[in-house]
C-alpha cells in the first residue's frame, strides 16, 4: 500500500505490516491505521506512522533496553483485543518526548503501545494499577544503552 508521509516521503507499506488500532490512540480515536517504522536500521527508535494523516507520527522507543524492570501487565481483555493467546505474542513500545533540552527526555511507561506481532492489531493501554510514570526521565539510562546498541 502506497502511503504518503511527511518524514519518510512516499513509502510502500507491505499489507502484512498494516496495523489496525480499533480504538485509535488516546486523543486520536479516529486514527485507526498505522505502520511501525524503524527510524534507522540500527536504531532503537521507531515511529508509529498514521496511514491516513501524513504528518502524524509518534516517536517510540523499545523500552526494555532503557528501563530496568519494566514489566507492564497485559490483561485478558487486552490480549483479546489484540487477538493473541499470551503476552509473548505482543510487542511493546513506549512514546518518547524529547524537548529542546534533550537531557530532559522522557518516556511514557504508564500508557504503552501494544501490538500483536502476527495479528496486526494494536492499541494504547493504561497501566492504572502500576506506579509507572507518564514522563519517566531517560537521560542517564539512554546514553549507556545507545552505546551498547552501536
Amino acid at each position: 500500500m502506497l502511503v504518503n508521509t511527511t518524514r519518510f516521503g512516499n513509502i510502500d507499506v507491505p499489507d502484512d505490516k498494516i496495523l489496525d488500532f480499533p480504538n485509535g490512540v488516546i486523543g486520536f480515536k479516529n486514527e485507526n491505521n498505522f505502520v511501525i517504522l524503524k527510524h534507522k536500521p540500527d536504531s532503537s527508535f521507531f515511529w508509529l506512522q498514521s496511514l491516513s494523516s501524513p504528518d502524524l507520527a509518534f516517536s517510540l522507543l523499545f523500552p526494555f533496553n532503557f528501563v530496568a524492570d519494566y514489566t507492564p501487565s497485559l490483561s485478558k481483555e487486552v490480549l483479546n483485543t489484540l487477538k493473541v493467546e499470551n503476552a509473548g505474542e505482543v510487542e511493546i513500545y513506549c512514546m518518547v518526548v524529547i524537548p529542546k533540552d534533550v537531557s530532559k527526555m522522557t518516556i511514557n511507561l504508564l500508557s504503552p503501545i501494544v501490538v500483536g506481532s502476527k495479528t496486526q492489531t494494536g492499541m494504547q493501554i493504561v497501566l492504572n494499577d502500576s506506579e509507572y510514570s507518564v514522563n519517566h526521565p531517560l537521560a542517564n539510562s539512554t546514553s549507556s544503552a545507545e552505546e551498547k546498541a552501536s
Binding site: I26, F58, S75, N108, V134, S143, E146, S150
Partner: protein, 76 residues
C-alpha cells in the same frame, strides 16, 4: 452535558451497558462505582488528559530531531 442529582446509593445507566453508582459521599469527596464491559476503558479524566498531552508531544518530532538526539547522547 446532562446533569443529574443523585443521593448516595442511587445510580445512573448509560446506554445498556454502563452503570454508575454513588457508593459514598464524604465531605468534598464522592466514591463512584462503575459497572462497564471490560472492553471499555475507564480513566480518571486528569490521567486521560495527561496521557493525551504526552501523546501530542510525541508527535512533534521531526526525523532530524531523533538523529540530533542520538548524536548528542553519543557525545556524552
Amino acid at each position: 452535558m446532562l446533569i443529574l442529582k443523585r443521593k448516595r446509593d442511587q445510580a445512573i445507566i448509560i446506554g445498556n451497558d454502563v452503570e454508575i453508582i454513588i457508593t459514598e459521599i464524604k465531605g468534598d469527596s464522592v466514591k463512584i462505582g462503575i459497572k462497564a464491559p471490560k472492553s471499555l476503558a475507564v480513566h480518571r479524566k486528569e490521567i486521560y488528559d495527561l496521557i493525551q498531552k504526552q501523546n501530542i508531544q510525541a508527535t512533534k518530532h521531526s526525523f532530524e530531531d531523533i538523529d540530533r538526539f542520538v548524536d548528542i547522547m553519543k557525545q556524552k
